[in-house]
Structures are given as structure tokens and as C-alpha cells.
Symmetry: C2
Subunit: 317 residues, 2 copies
């Protein structure tokens, strides 16, 4: 699983940062969180393909978060898209998608679905799910938490050998949850597999004032992508316009006990956002600045207690 | 007067070229021809400001020519625009602009006018005018010809001195069309000013098959910006999709007797469009490839017959 920051700026683009879009590659598919203007071209400049996008989650309908949808849809069509594209967002999504589909001479050759979510709505995908969280912005806004399904534990090669399981298809059977007969004994998966490993968890804030509800929903995330529009020198302005400071984002990361925090939605007034990073790190050291076109791999290995030992161990799946 | 190529690609953006937008700086104002997605950010990467845009002329409603309008309007608003913005285009403009103004949470603090033009429509500005020309594309499309008003002739310093006109305010009076009394003699502008100089002329094709009507309208242009989506190896495909090859664009330039031809709307399949340039130059040597963010000054000095002589001469205005 990897996160690709396509656009990390807020409100307006700047030469350094395009407006908001965060892609999460989950298996062969991409889930896109927000789609600011120019997102299709950011895809072209990254290693990811917009043809892989399966679903788009819009946080809210301010221009810097969704105005890349019209051109993305038209370019998907131009590029021969056939399979359905799902678009989710807060109230207003259905009408907005309908308007977008009617801009200019455009007749998509693929189905576009639009669905409106509310606080707590869950969208299930194969292997992961996305939960919507009502945020605290100036207009209805949803944050999103993507959680991978729990994964099987690691296969303990030493135990398998000790139990006399022959190498080969029997290993695969056990890894896939089946039982293997060795002479008169039944070897069950529990005997050779470590404990289930929790799935990875990624949370994306959208635009918001600091939100305790979001901190709860993002609890324990491997990666929290949180808006940090302004620095704490502009805390009042941030609150007025429904935003969070870099320090405020770090407070949320601390409260949510996440592993890493990435600051995004940086105001174009910060040509160098180093001050934002520094103030956040004072509160939450595992903070990073999201930068356009940077990819981050999300692993949860530090949370795994390997129950095999050393080089003999084999990955469960 | 200068032309700023903001986006020179066709159909889809590419890492090298954004989709179509051509800005013409005419005095303090900018006239924008087409506004593909990402045009606001291309402005930011250029030396021109989108706040100076007075009017936008859309050639047609394929996505690569107008989907930068929604974000441009929202960013103008965010940046404090107060004065009116005029949007012109073919039939469909009024409804499209209305849809765009209703996307998301957007209430512009400035007036946006939308007007639909047809073949031969003329829009007058202070000092120049834009004429629409019906093109030959797969959907209704207008090309545009911007013509500067004729400018006063050059002030002939030698003649003024010979006539005894005192240096100073009297020069300005004559340059502005007034008569000056020197003793009992009346000195009129005609006695010291050269012939009127024709205004500069710039033509922008939009998407089209080769069009004789456009060649007539663009006749004698200082700068012809013509689409060259494909090379002549794909002439049939170009015709099928309503486009012109690079060689076809050069034919138009030759027919229209323009001074210079700039090829734009280059298909993203040409990472290096050198072949397009070469085939056009075989027909019309004064051909150049438009490149994103390149500015071209448009002068018409070669068309002026200086009636003063040498270093004594002073610019009329």
C-alpha cells in the first residue's frame, strides 16, 4: 500500500504545490482523496496512472478539492475507460457530478456513480473499507479513514517442519485457512500461523478545524494526512476559515496515537513550509511535510510480532 | 503587444505541454483565448497575472479548451477580483458559464458576463477588436482574430524643427492630433506626422480542419497561432477528428500571407514535435513551435515605412 501525494497545496495552487489530491494505491487499484484542478496532469508526472482510479472521495466542494474532476472524467473517457468510476462525497455530490457530466460536449463511455455519505458511512472494497467522518469546516466536509482488512498471520516455517508438514501445496493450504492431514493427525492453520495482523490504516482530513472526532476515528493510523493550512502565528485566521495550524495537526496526531503525520493543504503563502514542519515536530516528532509527487510506502511491520524466527521465516501471504 | 503561450498541447495534457490557453497582453489587459485545465497555474509559472484578464474567448466546448474556467473563476474570486470578467464563445457559452458558476460553494464577488458569438461577430475593446470566425471542427468552434486599431504615424522631428515648432508641449499637441500656432502659421498634424500605421493583428485558430475562410480572416496577420494536432503522416486521422496537420497549418499561413506562424495544440503523442516543425517549414519558413510559457513580442515595425530619418526620429506615441 502506498500513498502518492499529487497535490499538497491549499486554496490556490502555487509553483511549488498543486491543489489537493492524495492517491492511495491499494492492491491494483487507486483510491483518490480529492481531485483538485490539474490532478490528471499530476498523475502524468507521477508513477501512478489515472486509469487505475477505482473510486474518488471528495472531502468538500470548495474548488481546490474537486475542480480536477471534469477534466479527469473527460481524459479517462478519451483514454478509453470502460469500467465504472465511483465518486463519493458529502451532500451535494450527486448534483455536482451531474453538472460536471453535462459540461461541454461530453458523453462518457463508462458509468459514473455518485453517492452522498454522512458521518460514519462505510464504503466496502475488496480488502479494505473507507469510513467517512464529519469534519469541522466552513461547509460540510468529510474526512476519510481507509482501513485494510486484517491480514492472516505469518506462516511459521519452523513449527510446520516440526509438525512434519511436507513442503509444497500443504503450506499453501494452511496459509489459506485449510486443514492438512499428516498420517492420522490434523494440522490446523492455528498450529502454524501467527496471530492475524491488523490491516494498515490511513486517515485523510480534508479541510477542518482540529477535530476530536477525527482523532478518535484516526486512532492508531499508520499514516495520518492532516491539513496544516497555516502556521500557529495565524491560529485565529485558521480557526476563522475552518482550518488547522501545523501545531494543531500535530496535536491531533498525538491524540490519535498515529505512527506518522504528513502535513498537507499548505497555504501558497508559505514558499518554504519549513516553519510549519518545525512547529509540528515540537509536538509530534514523526511529522513530515507532504510534497507534490512524493510517494510513501505504508507498512505495518512495526506492529507485527513476528512469531517465526529469523531467516527461516516465510511471509504468510 | 505580446503573446504568452500558457498551454500548447491538444486533447490531453502531457508532461511537456498543458492543454490549450493563449494569452494576449494588449496594453494593460490580457485577452485569453481558451482556458484549458490548469491555466491558472500556468499563469503563475509565467510572468503574466491572471488578475489582468479582461476577457476570455473560448473556441469550443471540448474539455481541453475550457475546463480551466471553473478554477480560474474561483481563484480570481479568492484573490479579490472586483471588476467584471467577460466570457465569449460559440453557442453553449451562456449555459456552460452558468453551470460553472454553480459548481460547489461558489459565490463570485465580481460580475461574469457570458455572450455567444457567431461567424463575423466583432467585440470592440479600447484600442483593439476581436472578430469571430466559424471554423470547421467536429463541434461548433470559433477562431478569433484580434486587430489593433490603426496607430498614429511617427512624429517627424526634422520636419517639426524645419517648421519652427518649439520643442516641448507643442510636440505632444501635434502627436495627439491638435494644431499648433507658430506666429501667424498653423501647423497641423499632417505636416509633421507620418502616415497612420496599421494595428497589429493576431489570429488564433482553435481546433479546425484547414479553413479558407480563416485564411481570409487572418490575412496579413503578424502572428498566426494555428493548431497542428498531428503530422502529415496522419492526415486522414486529422481530417476525421476535425484537425489540421502541421503542413496544413503552413498552407494556411502561406495563403493568408501572415508574417509568422506558431503551431500549437500539439498532440501528446509527439514528445518531440520537431518533425511537425520541419514539415511546416518546408511550406512556410517563418514557422515556429509554440512552447508552454514562452512569450512572443508582436511588433509591426517591418510594415512601417519610417518617414523620419535616422537617429533624430522620435516615436509618435
Amino acid at each position: 500500500m502506498r500513498v502518492i501525494f499529487l497535490g499538497t497545496g491549499g486554496s490556490l495552487p502555487s509553483p511549488q504545490r498543486n491543489v489537493t489530491a492524495v492517491a492511495v494505491q491499494a492492491g491494483p487499484e487507486i483510491v483518490l482523496f480529492d481531485c483538485g484542478e490539474g490532478t490528471q496532469r499530476q498523475f502524468m508526472l507521477s508513477k501512478a496512472s489515472f486509469m487505475k482510479v477505482n473510486a474518488v472521495f471528495i472531502t468538500h466542494f470548495h474548488g481546490d478539492h474537486f475542480l480536477g474532476l471534469p477534466a479527469l472524467l473527460q481524459s479517462l473517457n478519451f483514454s478509453g475507460r470502460k469500467r465504472v468510476l465511483h465518486i463519493y462525497g458529502p451532500p451535494g455530490t450527486i448534483q455536482t457530478v451531474e453538472s460536471i457530466l453535462n459540461l461541454g460536449y461530453f458523453a462518457p463511455g463508462f458509468e459514473v456513480t455518485a453517492a452522498e455519505l454522512e458521518d460514519g458511512s462505510v464504503v466496502e472494497f475488496a480488502g479494505y473499507r473507507v469510513t467517512a467522518v464529519a469534519m469541522d469546516h466552513t461547509v460540510p466536509c468529510l474526512g476519510y479513514v481507509l482501513e485494510e482488512n486484517a491480514r492472516p498471520g505469518r506462516f511459521n516455517l519452523r513449527k510446520a517442519r516440526a509438525l512434519g508438514v511436507p513442503e509444497g501445496p500443504a503450506y499453501r493450504t494452511l496459509q489459506q485457512g485449510g486443514t492438512v492431514e499428516i498420517g492420522s493427525r490434523s494440522i490446523t492453520p492455528e498450529m502454524v500461523m501467527g496471530p492475524k495482523r491488523r490491516g494498515r490504516k490511513i486517515a485523510v482530513s480534508g479541510d477542518t478545524r482540529p477535530s476530536s472526532a477525527f482523532a478518535r476515528a484516526a486512532r492508531g493510523a499508520d499514516l495520518l494526512v492532516h491539513e496544516a493550512t497555516l502556521g500557529s502565528e495565524l491560529e485565529e485566521e485558521a480557526a476563522l476559515y475552518g482550518h488547522t495550524t501545523a501545531r494543531g495537526a500535530a496535536d491531533i496526531a498525538l491524540k490519535a496515537m498515529v505512527r506518522t503525520l504528513y502535513l498537507y493543504h499548505i497555504s501558497p503563502r508559505y514558499e518554504d513550509a519549513g516553519t510549519l514542519l518545525r512547529e509540528a515536530r515540537e509536538v509530534f516528532p514523526e511529522t513530515y511535510l507532504a510534497e507534490d509527487l512524493v510517494e510513501v510506502s505504508v507498512t505495518n511491520d512495526v506492529d507485527t510480532e513476528p512469531d517465526g524466527s529469523g531467516p527461516d521465516e516465510e511471509e504468510g501471504r
